[in-house]
């Protein structure tokens, strides 16, 4: 199975978008997951709902909200453009933003479950040994949840690869710029005679998604084993 130039471009763009989205969203997901798992505060339910919103909203709605907020004339879009020179509208960065936001709830869920499985008593014990809160997180909590974090990252990555609705609404479908794998499949399906190209990309998408789910399941099982202490 060989890929044509356009297909190859779409695949590479998808990988770049998904990698960027995952890398940027992961630290924030870790932080939010920790807050949701370990802290109690007023408005926690609200934060939890907001985090899960992209999961339940129609992707078109998420894309439209991004367009309003981060578009060229959107308030956040203007500020970011003026101050940092970051433009989202109709750029691959916009595709990454959309993909990151859509994958965020999946990352938070996986990481939060892993953190909740860590006995807070271990963190207390670390504190009595002199470790500050950040040291406790880095030396006890984080090592114990690494598999959960990886699982979350992989789910987020797979979601980013497959993200379509919000992306196409927010940054359209520009080959080489915002045309990711799903957008390319959609575009090929619009043109008679391009079903073969579409099919090749479908197979590719299947392989990536399936691989991600399998690896993430395997890592999730390791979390449980690691915390039970049966495994390195």
């Amino acid at each position: 199975m060989t890929l044509s130039g356009a297909e190859w471009v779409a695949l590479m763009l998808s990988l770049r978008v998904a990698t960027t989205a995952t890398a940027c969203a992961l630290p924030m997901a870790l932080w939010v997951a920790w807050i949701l798992a370990r802290k109690s505060f007023w408005g926690k339910g609200l934060l939890n709902a907001a985090v899960h919103l992209p999961l339940v909203l129609p992707p078109v709605v998420t894309g439209y909200l991004l367009l309003i907020g981060f578009g060229r004339n959107g308030p956040l879009g203007q500020i970011l453009d003026d101050w940092f020179g970051i433009t989202f509208a109709f750029r691959w960065t916009g595709a990454a933003l959309a993909a990151g936001i859509m994958g965020f709830p999946l990352m938070v869920r996986a990481i939060r479950l892993a953190i909740e499985a860590v006995d807070p008593k271990l963190e207390e014990a670390a504190a009595t040994l002199g470790a500050s809160r950040s040291s406790v997180f880095l030396r006890v909590t984080l090592p114990l949840i690494v598999p959960g974090v990886l699982a979350g990252a992989i789910m987020g990555f797979a979601k980013a690869i497959g993200e379509f609705g919000a992306t196409i609404t927010f940054v359209a479908n520009i080959p080489g710029q915002t045309q990711t794998l799903p957008s390319a499949i959609y575009a090929f399906l619009q043109v008679p005679g391009e079903e073969n190209a579409a099919f090749r990309l479908v197979v590719l998408a299947l392989v990536v998604a399936l691989g991600a789910v399998i690896v993430s399941e395997w890592l999730a099982r390791r979390v449980a084993r690691r915390i039970a202490g049966r495994d390195a």
């Binding site: 207390e124 009595t128 470790a131 809160r133 006890v140």
Partner: protein
């Protein structure tokens, strides 16, 4: 010196305790639900009481009125938990060294080696906690706390989750730790097991329903008739000092106490060594005349100090036995028949087999 004053409300339960813990082992004793763990967690900084004032060697750790609360990780207190709480992702040696980097004055390498030797964990260093037995885990947990060079060692029922052989595996280490030369770390030892306390404690703080019912030197507290209901009539018993004089071939050892000799089985100390004996109150029989023709040879001349009767038919009698004190529990009827009054001279008969093996601890000479 650790000085603690803590008031805390947990649901209907009111904790209000003030005590001091000096050098040696201070035992915090109470039945389940009397607030022992809450109190220790407040000392460690894992729990902030409603009001409280805690100082360690003159340094204030908690003063709720002044809004001062030193966080747990800056209190320099070692904590050995009932459930070990070893880090599952680290090996034994990594667990031991976890706190070393935070210590102001790290434990010297020589002391670390000595501790590993003392605790008998040299062969375990490369293992992970999951591959350790319960007793081994607690030994490592003890080592981990001490590697951080704490100013005080807090132990919350460290042996409660272990069976008797595993307890016997650890108690000697605790005794060695207590009797170590130099300046041993003061230990605050929480337990609801009287035998552990009788064996380890220099001082005892008795908690009842969140209040301190009695506190002081272990020998004095345990020989106080008033504590009998707190310890339970079967568990109450005084401590006496004894010195090993001889081990006979038949397994009996001759021990010298300030009031006379005793012959007991199962004494594992060297000849000449001082030990502490726990004599259960219910195993002491009183007689006005020196008994003749008894199978027991352990008879000590004593005099009655005080008599305390409770709600039931029994009475607790405090006895002076040479320089030591004994506690006897007999019926009120017997008190009347023997006409016991404070000052009455009589004889205490201690059955040789009733001094439990586990309660024969090596004590430091406190007479």
């Amino acid at each position: 010196m650790l000085k603690v004053h803590v008031q805390h409300q947990l649901g209907d339960f009111q904790l209000d305790a003030t005590f001091e813990a000096g050098p040696g082992v201070t035992a915090l004793f109470g039945r389940s639900g009397t607030g022992k763990t809450t109190l220790v967690n407040a000392v460690a900084g894992l729990l902030t009481p409603r009001t409280g004032h805690i100082t360690l060697n003159g340094k204030t750790l908690l003063d709720t009125q002044a809004g001062l609360n030193v966080p747990a990780h800056q209190r320099q207190m070692g904590y050995v938990f009932q459930d070990g709480r070893l880090f599952p992702h680290l090996t034994v040696v990594q667990n031991l060294n976890f706190g070393s980097r935070y210590a102001n004055v790290p434990l010297p390498q020589k002391d670390q080696d000595q501790l590993v030797e003392l605790l008998g964990i040299r062969d375990l260093l490369a293992r992970r906690p999951a591959a350790l037995s319960g007793g081994e885990k607690q030994r490592v947990a003890l080592g981990r706390a001490l590697f951080a060079a704490p100013k005080v060692l807090l132990m919350d029922e460290p042996l409660a989750a272990l069976d008797v052989p595993r307890k016997e595996e650890i108690l000697p280490y605790l005794e060695q730790l207590r009797d170590a030369p130099g300046e041993p770390v003061p230990i605050l030892y929480v337990s609801h097991a009287v035998d552990e306390i009788a064996r380890l404690a220099d001082d005892i703080v008795l908690l009842k329903d969140g209040q301190i019912a009695s506190s002081g030197n272990a020998f004095e507290v345990l020989s106080d008739p008033a504590v009998v209901p707190l310890l339970g009539v079967r568990e109450a018993g005084a401590l006496i000092n004894a010195r090993v004089v001889d081990h006979a071939k038949d397994g009996l050892s001759t021990l010298k106490t300030s009031a006379g000799s005793l012959e007991l089985p199962g004494v594992r100390a060297e000849i000449g060594e001082g030990i502490r004996l726990r004599v259960l109150a219910q195993d002491v029989i009183l007689s006005r005349a020196r008994p003749e023709g008894l199978s027991s040879v352990n008879i000590l001349p004593v005099s009655v100090i005080s008599i305390r009767s409770g709600d039931g038919p029994g009475a607790a009698i405090a006895l002076q036995s040479g320089a030591d004190r004994l506690l006897a529990r007999i019926t009120l009827r017997a008190v009347e028949e023997l006409d016991l009054q404070p000052g009455t001279a009589c004889y205490a008969i201690i059955k040789a087999t009733t001094v439990a093996r586990g309660s024969i601890g090596r004590g430091i000479g406190q007479s």
